[in-house]
């Protein structure tokens, strides 16, 4: 299986250097289509996605993570670092389960 990246141009370029294919996503409109292409990418094992883009696709990603097996989705921060108001899915789940650590 393979990696796949959805990010802005520079990050996709960066990952290309280490042999990870990807697609540059510009705005919310293209995000959905790109996501569909990414999850249907043959043999996709792990999908790397930036928080900025993940934000456009919140519902889709949550649904995907709960229902489907591959690819797994990992969110990463982009050049601007971790978005402050962005809760990761894991955190959301931790709250849902009601366990505080």
């Amino acid at each position: 299986m393979k990696f796949y990246v959805l990010a802005d141009e520079d990050i996709v370029l960066g990952f290309r250097y280490v042999g990870v294919p990807g697609e540059a996503v510009e705005g919310p409109k293209t995000a959905k289509q790109a996501f569909d292409r990414a999850v249907n990418y043959p043999d996709a094992g792990i999908l790397i996605i930036t928080e900025k883009i993940a934000r456009y696709l919140d519902e889709t990603i949550t649904k995907w993570e709960l229902e489907s097996s591959y690819p797994l989705i990992v969110e990463i921060p982009d050049f601007e670092g971790h978005l402050d108001d962005r809760r990761t899915l894991t955190e959301a789940i931790r709250e849902a389960v009601g366990i505080n650590i």
Binding site: D10, G14, R16, V18, V74, I76, L89, I99
Partner: protein
């Protein structure tokens, strides 16, 4: 609490008692499972947090060297350097069981040399950035596994908790209530039989005397 509709007889009483015992045992087991799940969940959430922090740190390092590389190198050469990426990332999927839950695992195999271009035209920063990116991928694999495990565990915890609660707050009280009801009904029957017998005896005695 609602009483389950059954015929109040001894047979049913026995069945009900059996069911209650079974429910109590199931409840105990499920409760144990839930506790263990939560324990695992906490462990894995901790690991997730540590991994995430380290990945984010390294990513920002990689980004900054990459941006510098971009700044000092002409665009065409940057593109040219990766025209033929010699590096290939292969993931071999596998499975691991956490408390009977199957979670996916991956094994990362990196093929080829990351620095696949001539050294003359490219900058040191680019080399650095690539090296860090390659390192990050390893951690990202682990992160993906861990995050998926968190999701699966959370779902299982919620499921188990629902079952524990259903047993504890609905099925078991219902059964207890029903057992009580059946017992009372049986006692009542017994008393009425007794009363009837006494009455019959009285009548018989009266007839003899007359």
């Amino acid at each position: 609490m609602a009483v389950i509709k059954v015929n109040p007889n001894r047979m049913e009483l026995m069945n009900l008692k059996k069911r209650l015992k079974l429910a109590a045992r199931g409840h105990k087991l499920l409760k144990g499972k839930q506790d263990e799940l939560v324990q695992r969940f906490i462990e894995i959430v901790h690991e997730n947090r540590e991994l995430r922090i380290s990945v984010e740190e390294e990513l920002s390092k990689a980004y900054s060297s990459f941006l510098i590389a971009k700044a000092v190198m002409p665009e065409e050469e940057l593109e040219e350097a990766i025209m033929i990426p010699s590096m290939e990332m292969h993931l071999t999927p596998g499975q691991k069981a956490i408390m009977n839950l199957r979670v996916p695992t991956f094994e990362l195999k990196a093929g080829g040399d990351p620095v696949c271009y001539g050294y003359t035209e490219t900058s040191v920063e680019l080399d650095n950035a690539i090296q860090i990116f390659a390192e990050i991928l390893k951690k990202l694999v682990r992160l993906a596994e861990v995050e998926k495990s968190v999701i699966e565990l959370a779902e299982e915890i919620i499921r188990t908790r629902r079952r524990v609660n259903a047993l504890e707050y609905i099925l078991m009280p219902n059964l207890q209530e029903t057992i009580k009801f059946v017992k009372m009904k049986l006692d009542e029957n017994e008393r009425s039989t007794l009363a009837r017998l006494m009455k019959v005896k009285d009548i018989v005695r009266e007839k003899r005397q007359s």
